[in-house]
Amino acid sequence: MSLVIFICVTILLIMSFYFLPKTMNILQNTYVLMLAIFLFTCYCSVIYVNLEFWKLSNHVTHYILFRIYQLIVIPILVVWYCNGKNKKMKKYFLIRTVCFSLAMLLLERLLISWNVITYAKWNGLISFFAYLILLLVISILNHWFTVVLRKEGIRVG
């Protein structure tokens, strides 16, 4: 059942993302998506393989759930976060960053409640700060990519 629920949530997330107005162009969206996938998979590997702060369930359903979370849900949330950045929303930057970090943390808690992830020497607060840092790092790298696009003569929102 958990897999069905999570797949439904993922499909809804993808559809919402597709239909919502975007401030970034397709090149920026692609860049942020790939960056998020790369950085988040590296982060997860360090946390659960190297440091063993998380334990992942060996159940097949849980394995699929975790991969959907790692490769689709979190990267799409990151792209969504980056698309919300415009001049009007500039003053809410910190609030938005905190809200998206909390949303990611909530999803992580969902995986914990389904026993997909088990914490060992880890807690939610560290995860929250990790998501915060992930969003900030991607924001900075996205800003740099935006500068590159502007130099090439592409109008960026």
Partner: protein
């Protein structure tokens, strides 16, 4: 012939491969690609390696190891960086060759074979240690990811053109 002594040079092999690929890119006449497209090709190539590795080499499946360890270390990261110049070179020769029709298929088959041979050499040097994996699977993977790279390249090139016009 015992060639396990080569395993001590896995890190050197990765560094040398990276430097050689970068030197080759520097020596080749420029493709005049916008920097943004080069960045996207590099990221896409690195992700094409990173995503399957995060699933297949992880402890749950553990089909193979990179650098003799299932752990993610600095040289794993450098190995992913190695895919950036390779991805660029793949697109470079595709553009320079101006392949059309069946020549594209031939190009993909040729580069997939080249990729598989390179991976086998990397395996001899201990960059990849196969457990439940077989080099023949890699050939199939290359046959799948290389057209994907070309599709990705064509789509971002078109998007770039459209954005430049607006």
């Amino acid at each position: 012939m015992n060639i396990t002594f080569l395993h001590h040079f896995n890190e050197l092999f990765v560094v040398l491969s990276f430097v050689t690929a970068m030197l080759l890119i520097k020596k080749l006449p420029s493709l005049k690609l916008p920097i943004s497209l080069v960045i996207l090709i590099c990221l896409f190539s690195a992700n094409l390696a990173r995503v399957p590795d995060s699933m297949l080499a992880a402890p749950s499946l553990d089909l193979y190891d990179i650098m003799f360890s299932e752990k993610f270390n600095l040289f794993d990261f450098i190995t992913y960086l190695l895919y950036c110049p390779f991805g660029y070179l793949f697109v470079y020769f595709y553009e320079k060759g101006n392949f059309k029709g069946y020549k594209i298929i031939l190009y993909i088959a040729l580069t997939a074979s080249g990729g598989t041979i390179y991976e086998w050499i990397a395996h001899l040097f201990g960059v990849f240690e196969y457990k439940k994996w077989d080099i023949r699977f890699s050939f199939a993977v290359y046959l799948f990811v290389q057209p994907l790279t070309l599709l990705f390249y064509e789509s971002i090139k078109n998007s770039h053109k459209i954005l430049m016009k607006n």
